[in-house]
């Protein structure tokens, strides 16, 4: 069983962290907000904005949604498609 949460970073957020994928070791369920707090402590993470659009397993999620080991959390900069 996976014991980490995969965090994906895109576009400007990937630039700020210098990485587009981070695996966070987590033994139990936490909130999306907890994941964001962990990411902010990484090098470059303090430059991330206070509010971020997030997705869990391909669906938009709120900061209070729970995530478990094995889930994929994506931090999405402001969308600019179309």
């Amino acid at each position: 069983m996976p014991e980490s949460i995969r965090v994906l970073l895109f576009a400007r957020y990937a630039e700020l962290l210098g990485a587009d994928r981070i695996d966070l070791a987590l033994a139990e369920a936490v909130t999306v907000g907890d994941v964001l707090d962990r990411v902010r402590m990484l090098p470059g993470g303090s430059a991330l904005p206070g509010a971020m659009l997030c997705a869990v397993n391909l669906r938009q999620a709120t900061h209070s949604d729970l995530v478990s080991p094995g889930d994929e959390v994506a931090l999405l900069p402001p969308l600019a498609g179309g």
Partner: protein
């Protein structure tokens, strides 16, 4: 698949959905413009959270077909594009033009609202920025220059 790194042919997209019954076809095609926020754009690069973007596009197409009696095709380009190239195309066929216009407008609005795609613009003056509709001026400077690791 709604995302493609190949040139988009809007005419063939419209041809896929027009039928003998659905005679009114409205198409929206967004081409790369040569200016943004007062700066001259040279080229740009679209990146996407591909699996989520595909899911979002599929949902938009399905929902449009539930809201209106129409058939919908949607394509969004990824990768490097030059000025004038097609970035996005939406084709909607309906029995009548009212629903085709409404649905086409709705689809492109939802694409901008829901689909995780990002745009990196390369300007004539050598600077690079991430397009950000929520930021003043509509863009945020990129950390790496045009020839940086993501170019």
């Amino acid at each position: 698949m709604h995302l493609t790194d190949q040139p988009i042919d809007a005419a063939s997209l419209a041809g896929r959905i027009q039928t003998a019954r659905r005679g009114g076809v409205v198409t929206f095609v967004g081409h790369v413009r040569d200016h943004h926020g007062g700066r001259a754009v040279q080229r740009l690069e679209y990146s996407a959270y591909a699996p989520m973007a595909e899911t979002a596009c599929a949902e938009i197409v399905r929902e449009a077909g539930e809201r209106w009696p129409v058939s919908v095709e949607l394509r969004h380009r990824t990768g490097e594009l030059g000025v004038g190239e097609v970035a996005v195309a939406v084709a909607v066929a309906g029995d009548h033009r009212e629903e085709a216009f409404e649905a086409c407008r709705w689809v492109i609005d939802e694409v901008k609202r829901r689909v995780p795609i990002w745009k990196r613009e390369y300007y004539e003056d050598g600077t690079v920025a991430w397009v950000d509709p929520t930021a003043p001026g509509g863009a945020v400077p990129a950390q790496y220059p045009a020839e940086g690791p993501r170019a």
